[in-house]
Symmetry: C2
Subunit: 123 residues, 2 copies
DNA sequence: CGGGTTGTCAACCGATGGGTTGAGAATGGA
DNA sequence: TCCATTCTCAACCCATCGGTTGACAACCCG
């Protein structure tokens, strides 16, 4: 299919699945438990769970007829790693941009710390 | 359409779009610049950009014929807020579970205090 | 003006996604 | 053994997605 990061993002792009994940932080739950709040068939919930499982966000075991669902929260790090990496890169760049702008406004070499007077006036 | 959080997750579920976002952390870029590395039409890239824009991850301005694309990294927080919230809930629960297991293995009543003195005694 | 550059809009196409219903597998309990 | 419970598999439906091509809008420049 696709890489895991894509599958994780895709899995969480659905509000129902996000809600399931949220509720699983309260502890494991059966498919029926998970399905209860939603106005859809059990089969639909079962499909959602397969998506979450495919993304590695969830694992399932067996317990009599029940299939307890367990949240695997470590996968969250896959996303936070990606996000933080680029958030940080973006921030660093803004910092450099601010420096450049400060230079342009005050080319004496001593940067006026604090307020970056201009802001959107590129070009 | 859908809520913004869903749109952001969905936008980043595509590897091409993630790569675009990644490259935009190096600075604004035109549609052509962004399209260059990929073996797809300019129109396809234009569509990807509309998705990113719809998610609020990107804004576009005008500069002669060009349409510079600018990354709006603040939106990342939407995700990190959600993720951290539930990652933390999950962790807390694991801590409580560990406490319970410690109790079961050592029912003398005095928890083998390693760390986090309180925390698990709610409800 | 006319032409080149840059990008969007519109229509279409095949694949995928989220939903349904119907059938049945797996297990526990009477 | 037979039944109830819990859940999955399979087929289908329709909307959306990512891609295409073709037309054209917006802008600069000679």
């Amino acid at each position: 299919m696709a890489d895991q990061l894509s599958r994780v993002f895709a899995a969480l792009a659905d509000p129902t699945r996000r809600d399931m994940v949220a509720r699983l932080t309260d502890g494991d739950a059966t498919v029926g438990d998970l399905a209860a709040p939603y106005d859809v068939s059990l089969q639909a919930v079962s499909k959602h769970l397969k998506v979450l499982e495919g993304a590695g966000l969830v694992t399932r075991s067996r317990e009599a007829q029940r299939r307890p669902v367990h949240l695997e929260a470590e996968v969250f790090e896959l996303m936070t790693n990606w996000i933080e990496r680029y958030r940080q890169r973006a921030e660093e760049r803004y910092q450099r941009l601010d420096d450049v702008l400060a230079q342009m406004n005050d080319p004496t070499g001593e940067t006026t710390e604090t307020d970056t007077p201009m802001e959107g006036t590129a070009s």
